[in-house]
Symmetry: C2
């Protein structure tokens, strides 16, 4: 941020009175501009013993596989965000179930949420951000071609937990967000 989004003046960076962190502050209209972490929300769309993955048509990690997920929008719930992203990226209809996992990604100011989900039919097809969408059994998943650790790690755990029952909620932190 260089300019005040309220009045167009060049902003200062300083700690406002009563605050503890440096903020972008406008010297003209005195507006304080806060920057906060964003939520990325998706799901694990299940069909029998398979999971629906999307091959990315966009940067970063174009050509690699991921779960449907994306930035939560204003005016929606976490569950609605998960369902909408699944429709946008895979044209897939899902019933959103329990929250499965939360990952803190403090290095990139994001928090990731993945819900369990049931695919409602097999009429999925790639959305504009996907090259391909496909169902995979655990042994068929292209584990070396998963786009992000924050997807691969919970997906591996998901399949493991499915062997012994219903996957259950957990929360964790990834400090290193590289593949």
């Amino acid at each position: 941020m260089k300019y005040c989004s309220n009045c167009g003046t060049l902003v200062d960076i300083r700690i406002p009175e009563g605050d503890t962190l440096p903020r972008h502050v406008c010297p003209t209209c005195n507006r304080i501009h806060y920057h906060n972490p964003k939520m990325v929300v998706g799901c694990i769309p299940k069909w029998e013993d398979k999971v629906l993955l999307c091959r990315r048509a966009i940067k970063p990690r174009c050509g690699l596989w991921t779960l449907p997920a994306g930035f939560m929008e204003n005016s929606e719930t976490l569950e609605q965000a998960a369902s909408r992203e699944t429709m946008e990226e895979a044209n897939a209809r899902v019933k959103i179930g329990n929250l499965y996992t939360i990952y803190n990604l403090p290095a990139i100011n994001q928090v990731y949420f993945l819900f369990l989900a049931e695919l409602l039919d097999l009429n999925f097809q790639p959305g504009i951000e996907s090259l391909e969408v496909k169902l995979f059994k655990e042994k068929e998943v292209p584990w070396d071609e998963i786009a992000f650790r924050v997807i691969g790690i919970p997906l591996k755990r998901y399949f493991k937990e499915c062997h012994t029952g219903e996957p259950s909620f957990y929360i964790d932190t990834l400090d290193n967000i590289d593949r």
Copy 2:
């Protein structure tokens, strides 16, 4: 948002190519400015059968009681945010436990997170945003003077669940955010 925070030009509101929602778009530098929901994070600081509440010294709902909670900052985890807010508002040291509840508040573009927590000592005192901080047993809680429904509802449920065991995680939505 009226001006582009990158170059200071007046922004347009339009749906960018390949997008589905209207965004603030700069006609000069083409920057798209996204606005996403914010996370509010806090905890339920427990000491024996009591919970630590803070009486608000700031608007909104100045003079009413709440749990320590506030906006998550960049570069921190949900757990760190809960702990930091408890220190800022009550100068209280806590051990953050399991995530207890998530509330979607789509009407105000927020998602609320409350963790279970153990107070580590009794050396708490009001922070700059609190008039008073105090431990309450369930029957002593000023239920009619709780600042927000998103605090009062889970707090009531928390005490109820404590009667029969460990409070367990749930996720819910409050469409109406009035008291």
